[in-house]
């Protein structure tokens, strides 16, 4: 199976000398296209650092990050920014939708920043909204949407176009457990369409929706779930996008 996201011996050190903090220590993790991996660990275990490094928002101190087969560490800042816009999508706890743009405008923003023209961008954006079941809300502004709808729009924005990697940091934090579960199912469905997903969460119930759960402690990956959660493997990727 293709590893769409791969971390090889990734370490991250903040500060120096006596103030040195080892946020990540030699973490290796491979996420396949079609797979959703949840990352669990206590505060300060390195979960968020791992996510930001995986998404090239931060450079590792050592080690390699490969996204869709491309190594990030050697890439120029420009190329990294391009990769972030085209290949990597993010879902944040507080949605991060722009209040002055409609749902579909929020979704198409990364495409337009990447030079996709208006009509083509809208059509791609509408497809993403349809996949998330909120196409009929396309022309509404964020404050006209419910919390669950806003998060669906945020997921649509994260997977719009030809994204290969979906990263989510506590994506259900503001929602109740049933709506949080619905968001996890949407993330899982998005992954099944050929995306590699990594979700950071402290919520064990939501983590259990993922195909695999990895455990971080003090910057180290100490363990991961080992058995497939059902009789047949969940790790088969769906039809490729």
């Amino acid at each position: 199976m293709t590893a769409a996201l791969e971390l090889r011996e990734v370490s991250k050190v903040y500060g120096s000398g006596s103030a040195e903090v080892h946020a990540l220590c030699g973490v290796s993790l491979s996420v396949s296209a079609g797979e959703l991996v949840a990352v669990m660990g206590p505060s300060g275990s390195g979960k968020s650092t791992m996510l930001t490094i995986a998404g090239s928002l931060e450079e590792p101190t050592s080690g390699q990050v490969l996204v869709a087969g491309m190594e990030l560490s050697g890439a120029s800042p420009n190329d990294q920014a391009k990769l972030r816009r085209r290949i990597v999508g993010y879902v944040f706890q507080d949605f991060n939708l722009l209040a002055g743009l409609t749902a579909v405008e929020n979704v198409t923003l990364p495409l337009e920043l990447d030079g996709v023209r208006g009509r083509a961008a809208r059509s791609t954006g509408m497809r993403a909204l349809e996949e998330l079941g909120v196409a009929e809300r396309a022309d509404r502004f964020p404050d006209e949407l419910s919390g669950g709808e806003r998060q669906r729009v945020a997921i649509a924005r994260a997977v719009v176009g030809d994204r290969r990697v979906l990263l989510a940091d506590e994506p259900t934090g503001a929602l109740d457990s049933v709506n949080g579960e619905a968001v996890m199912r949407l993330l899982l469905a998005a992954c099944r369409r050929g995306v590699a997903g990594m979700v950071v969460t402290h919520d064990a119930v939501l983590a259990s929706c993922a195909d695999r759960v990895v455990f971080l402690r003090d910057g180290r990956m100490i363990d991961q779930t080992r058995t497939p959660p059902g009789p047949e493997s969940l790790l088969t990727s769906g039809p490729q996008r």
Binding site: S28, S32, A207, S208, A210, M221, T225, P229
Partner: protein, 204 residues
């Protein structure tokens, strides 16, 4: 799980044969609480002796016997539905006992032991989450049962997390008399364990 009250509840919908009761129980809860037909007939016999159900066949128990709930059975069911479950004294918790004992066993790494249990709980939770995902959208009964187990197991994971934080803040002295250094012991073992796991991850 009270099988006798579950059977009374199924009979409150109308008279049913024993085999039908077993099938309906399995349909509604079977993936979580399987029940064999022998248990059903044994429970029905006890309920009949207690006057809570009656049958319309004087012969011995068998698939042809039809059971009905009595007025006393209906009252018993209503009373049971409104009676809170007794949690005093708390049920004996094997996991808590194992963690407490591991603190006193020389050479036992309590953090490692807790992680084994944490992973097991999450793997169990994955099965219940999978059950919900695969169930029909309108299968509310199954979703409610799976939720109950998920939240129970989540409570166990919460306890493990809190226990780990407490032990890090206040390490228990080593029973063999060595200085308390639980966190250091764990760190010393970490590279081996991490290397093993990461090797597994790369091979996947």
């Amino acid at each position: 799980m009270s099988v006798r009250h579950a059977l009374l509840a199924l009979l409150s919908e109308g008279p049913k044969f024993g085999l039908r009761l077993q099938q309906e129980f399995e349909e509604r809860t079977g993936e979580v609480w399987p029940l064999n037909v022998g248990q059903v007939y044994m429970t029905l016999q006890r309920l009949e002796r207690a006057g809570l159900v009656e049958s319309d066949d004087e012969g011995g128990p068998g698939p042809q016997k039809r059971f009905m709930i009595t007025q006393a059975g209906g009252a018993e069911l209503q009373g049971w539905l409104r009676t809170p479950a007794s949690d005093i004294p708390p049920p004996r918790n094997e996991l808590v006992i194992k963690v407490l004992i591991s603190l006193r066993v020389p050479g036992a790494d309590v953090y490692d032991i807790m992680q084994v249990h944490r992973r097991h709980m999450i793997e169990l939770m994955q099965r219940y989450s999978r059950l919900k995902t695969e169930a029909a959208q309108n299968d509310i009964e199954l979703a409610l049962i799976a939720d109950a187990e998920l939240f129970r197991l989540e409570g166990v994971v919460h306890w493990l997390d809190a226990a780990e934080t407490r032990l890090k803040q206040h390490p228990v002295p080593d029973p063999a008399g060595r200085p308390a250094a639980a966190a250091d012991r764990r760190d010393a073992q970490m590279p081996t364990l991490a290397a093993h796991i990461q090797g597994t991850a790369v091979r996947r």
